[in-house]
Amino acid sequence: MGLDFSVIPKYLDVILLGALWTIAITVAAALLSFIGGILFAVIALYAPRAIRLPFRAFEWLFMGTPLLLQLFLIYFGLVQIGIDLPAFVAGVIGLGLHFAVYNSELIQTAIVAVDRGQMEAARTLGLSRGEALRKVVVPQAVRDVIPPIGNNMIALLKDSALVSVIGVGELTLSAQLAIGRTYRPFEFYVLAAVFYYVINLGMEAVLRRVERRVQASR
């Protein structure tokens, strides 16, 4: 049968739209995972026991089970208890929380590693513990883990392909759609791979810029 890339132009708009959805879901989930990661890290380290222990269980749920299962649970499972989320929202929440837990682990380690003198200096000026964490300790911790968080964000982009199974029309699902019409899996999977790679390059460029800005204070 051979390869025939000439079928691609006809479906390029479908694939492009899929790529846009992939970018949208990745950016939304990345933001959620970043903010959630900071929040989870502070809860894990400083919340009272009554909050910390249930939180551990929640963390285990997201670290110890497959992301695919988590997406099924959020999209199909929650309907039974009356929470009917659109596929895109379910995808963002699933990906976002999953990676928030991983980011939280990084940020926790970094918070603990911030010099004790920083908290002391802030408290001495009259800042409360919460203010000192928010303005002095956490920003430094986050700054220290920008590169590994960036790695998590690249992983998030790649894992965003999983949300195709709950019907979000992102890149992988769009490729499958085109394949269903043309029976040309090789061509369209390669095309999707190229798109993932290009988006990846774009993300790395953004991350490098962020890292450079952060470097200014070192």
């Binding site: 920083q118 303005k135 430094q140």
Partner: protein, 257 residues
């Protein structure tokens, strides 16, 4: 003068870690505008005493007063936090290792607390930062990050940061101990300037020459007690206690090496 109420009043300070007693019933009265140096070998409890004044290392017994406020008064946790955050605004502290916030520029290091705690506008805080930096001779580095400053410059910024809260008293915890010898003088000059402006200061130091030239009173501490105290010319030139004499002799011997 003697019946004047002390500005900083430490009454029967006691501190122990388990069975180890690091402060044994220490009392210290400092008048407004007075400059007191605390000297002594490491492990003598001098830093612990200093850090008890703003409750960074809480005492296990005794009281600390600043004017009419008891710093370490007994309150339920929540109320105590509110109280101590308020009191600490009046007590400036300078650390051995500067503890500048590395993620903020010099300007933002100084603006942070006044904006957050005193509700200053951005413009007011900018003006305040410029004034304080001018005072310590660091205005031209206002937009630098701390990582690009020398140790002496960092410490001058740290002093400006503390002064920006308009404290009633300044505590110096070995402010020049971590500096290269050639950088000590610039920090000492700033501290002298503060002394001339009659800032009340309590200084833990190993710089005997500086203590002698600037301070009104010197305390010699050893093993958690004040062994001897008095005017610097007496403590340094004519100490009555054997332990003080030994300490000063050893210290001068190593300092002159």
């Amino acid at each position: 003068m003697t019946d004047q109420k002390p500005f900083v009043d430490i009454r029967h300070a006691q501190k122990s870690y388990g069975t180890l007693e690091v402060l044994k019933d220490i009392s210290l009265q400092v008048q407004r505008g007075q400059i007191v140096a605390i000297i002594g070998p490491s492990g003598s409890g001098k830093s612990t005493l200093l850090r008890a004044i703003n409750d960074l290392d809480p005492l296990t017994g005794g009281e600390v007063w600043l004017e009419d406020t008891q710093v370490n008064k007994k309150l339920p946790h929540r109320q105590y936090e509110k109280h101590i955050n308020q009191v600490r605004q009046d007590i400036g502290m300078v650390f051995q290792h500067f503890n500048l916030f590395p993620h903020l520029t010099v300007r933002d290091n100084i603006k942070l607390a006044p904006k957050l705690l005193k509700g200053l506008s951005d413009a007011e805080a900018d003006k305040l930062a410029e004034e304080q930096l001018e005072k310590v001779g660091m205005l031209e580095r206002i937009d630098y990050y701390p990582s690009r400053l020398s140790g002496g410059q960092k410490q001058r910024v740290a002093i400006a940061r503390a002064l920006a809260m308009k404290p009633k008293v300044m505590l110096f915890d070995e402010a020049t101990s971590a500096l290269d010898p050639e950088l000590v003088e610039e920090v000492n000059l700033v501290m002298k300037k503060l002394a001339e402006e009659h800032m009340t200061m309590i200084i833990v130091t190993h710089e005997m020459g500086f203590a002698e030239s600037v301070c009104d009173r010197v305390l010699f501490m050893d093993q958690g007690v004040v062994v001897e105290e008095g005017p610097p010319e007496v403590i340094f030139r004519n100490p009555s206690n054997e332990r003080t004499r030994n300490f000063l002799r050893k210290h001068l011997a190593t300092a002159n090496k």
